[in-house]
């Protein structure tokens, strides 16, 4: 028996009284707590598998503790080459995604905000947002068929790219490693940048028109307007979006990767999460997959905390 000191006990009674008096409110919050524990937090505890010699019949808790052996195996064993390749790809794909993908919705929002003809803008936004609502299976199905290169048929976009000389004759884009990253990133831009422009558009709309007027009185031109009014005005949004983006850096949309890649494009397209899927779930090396999962989760978390810390230092914008 743990002896609790009277002060602690008083506190418990105090809390108990509050909760009893207001029990309905606490009943309402319980389903959410249970849901999160069962489906989100319990698997986090399951990450222990990374330190275990996992045997399905013994379960995660019952299996033997073997320290960092799984991590060592992952980084130096037979999967090492694939693992580091996936690690590298994850980083490169996110980085390129950031460089090429991040500015597009901002530019779109700037352009949308210029369009004063409401009907035209609404129609164009309707078109531009649509791909966001389609599923990854639909999107990748379209991509794979439009870029298909076969004996009898060639997808219309594959045909177009070959005819303008961007892709050499007789090359299949979806089967060639060099094309995977651009393919993935362009698909992402096509699907999400229209929708992602909403948040920047809202930020631009929130900028007081007085600021623009003032700059105009001083004789500023359009580019100075963007430089000195629009960008500072949307800075907090930009910072938040960058932190979010960096935080998700390692969780590259694995669904799309798994749906798009194939054995020929592992070299450039395999990322940590698709690696975990192949090794941990398809091949059944759960403990090794778990170790890679843990590795992934910790780096991801560090990135968010780090990005948030830096942003708080320089711009006083932060997520929490």
């Amino acid at each position: 028996m743990v002896k609790s000191d009277p002060k602690e006990q008083n506190k418990l009674i105090y809390y108990g009284k509050i909760i009893l008096k207001d029990w309905q409110l606490y009943v309402l919050v319980i389903p959410m707590i249970i849901w999160y524990i069962l489906w989100i937090y319990k698997p986090m505890a399951g990450l222990l598998i990374a330190f275990k010699n996992y045997k399905p019949n013994l379960g995660i808790l019952g299996s033997d503790f073997i320290g960092f052996t799984n991590f060592k195996f992952l980084m130096t064993g037979p999967y090492a080459q694939q693992f580091w390749q996936a690690f590298r790809n994850t980083f490169l794909i996110s980085l390129y995604g950031l460089i090429f993908g991040f500015p597009v919705p901002i530019i779109l929002a700037l352009l949308f905000s210029e369009i004063t003809h409401n009907f035209y803008r609404r129609v164009m936004q309707t078109f531009a947002f649509l791909p966001h609502f389609l599923s990854e299976v639909t999107i990748t199905g379209l991509v794979l068929t439009l870029l298909y290169k076969g004996e009898v048929t060639t997808g219309v976009i594959a045909h177009f790219l070959t005819s303008i000389g961007l892709v050499p004759e007789g090359t299949s884009i979806i089967q060639t490693a060099e094309y995977f990253r651009p393919l993935y990133i362009i698909t992402g831009i096509w699907k999400e940048s229209g929708y992602n422009s909403i948040v920047y558009f809202a930020a631009i709309m929130g900028i007081s028109p007085v600021l623009y007027e003032a700059l105009k009185v001083d004789g500023g031109n359009k580019f100075q307007e963007i430089r000195y009014v629009t960008f500072p005005g949307m800075a907090p949004t930009l910072v938040i979006m960058i932190i979010l983006r960096i935080g998700r850096m390692l969780s590259v949309g694995y669904e799309r990767i798994i749906l798009l890649y194939n054995a020929n494009t592992y070299k450039t397209g395999d990322v940590l999460s698709s690696f975990v899927y192949r090794i941990g779930l398809e091949n059944g090396n759960q403990a090794i997959g778990g170790a890679a999962d843990m590795f992934n989760a910790i780096i991801g978390f560090t990135l968010v905390v780090g990005a948030n810390y830096i942003s708080r230092q320089i711009s006083e914008t932060s997520l929490w």
Partner: protein, 287 residues
């Protein structure tokens, strides 16, 4: 009408053109898929179909119409989406309501408990083992164990916080319970937010693929996305092995399936449009 400077006019013209181009590009694959699905075999394979259909042929749609597996998966998807969304909304609304109350004990800790999941997740293997372990590697798992998202809870919480205090106080004096309060004050007063979050949940349920593929092993339980993917995979394999002589281009069949998956989205799209533009601006993501 305010006067525009020269640079402003140039920029405006550029904006109209570029936005037009981008939007057309965004829409093109969808339009093309539809055209290709109803085009004849000969013009399609000759690469003559670029935007509009050639030699109309609706045969592939007849084939899909007669495909039992397709309808089973379609109905399953509807079922999972409806019940799953209701389940997600139930947990999110009650949770967000409690979190919006300043008097809730450990409110800060509970907020963190929810927001933390946006930054750290266990990963595939432990998640999968958990589903198996809990006996939900089936349709119940798809409905119950998914679809509560921290982002949506925070969005609702922020909206609920904006409901005026006076109304709540008046209701308390009248002896309303918390449940009545949610039902007759909070939900009607946050219609836009509720609709937005419902649509977010519904689209992510309807579009969900990865976990459905992992957990749904019974062919009678497959959802639309998984069924569609299996068709795409088999088609490619079949087509690589032996280009058999069909009365329609094999691609047309795939495009037709893709079009069928897009149609439900197009049907609800006008409603989504109406709400989400307001919705996404409701809450920042701040915990």
């Amino acid at each position: 009408m305010k006067r525009l400077t020269k640079s402003e006019i140039i920029f405006k013209i550029l904006a109209y053109i570029l936005i037009g181009l981008f939007s057309i590009m965004a829409l093109y694959p969808v339009v093309y898929a539809f055209s290709a699905s109803i085009s004849g075999k000969i013009p399609y394979e000759a690469g003559k179909v670029v935007l509009l259909p050639k030699e109309l042929n609706f045969q592939v749609y007849k084939l899909i119409y007669e495909d039992k597996g397709f309808w089973i998966s379609y109905v399953n998807s509807l079922f999972y989406t409806t019940y799953g969304t209701a389940w997600s909304m139930l947990i999110s609304i009650t949770g967000a309501y409690a979190l919006s109350k300043k008097r809730l004990l450990f409110r800060r800790q509970l907020n963190f408990f929810v927001v933390f999941t946006m930054w750290f997740n266990a990963g595939m293997v432990p998640m999968y083992l958990n589903y198996v372990n809990m006996g939900v590697a089936n349709k119940w798992g798809i409905i119950v164990a998914f679809g509560v998202q921290a982002y949506n809870i925070i969005l609702l919480r922020n909206y609920f916080e904006g409901v005026p205090h006076e109304i709540e106080e008046a209701a308390t004096i009248d002896g309303a319970t918390e449940f009545q309060m949610i039902r007759s004050i909070y939900i009607p007063m946050s219609k836009a937010a509720i609709a937005t979050v419902t649509l977010f949940y519904a689209t992510s349920r309807w579009n969900g693929y990865f976990w459905a593929r992992m957990l749904l092993t019974d062919p009678m339980e497959l959802n639309m996305q998984v069924y569609m993917r299996i068709l795409v995979e088999n088609y490619q394999k079949m087509f690589d092995d032996m280009p058999i002589d069909l009365p329609y281009a094999a691609d047309s069949y795939i495009f037709a399936i893709l079009v069928c998956s897009i149609i439900p989205v197009l049907i609800v799209y006008p409603y989504i449009q109406q709400y989400f533009a307001k919705g996404v601006n409701l809450g920042g993501v701040k915990g």
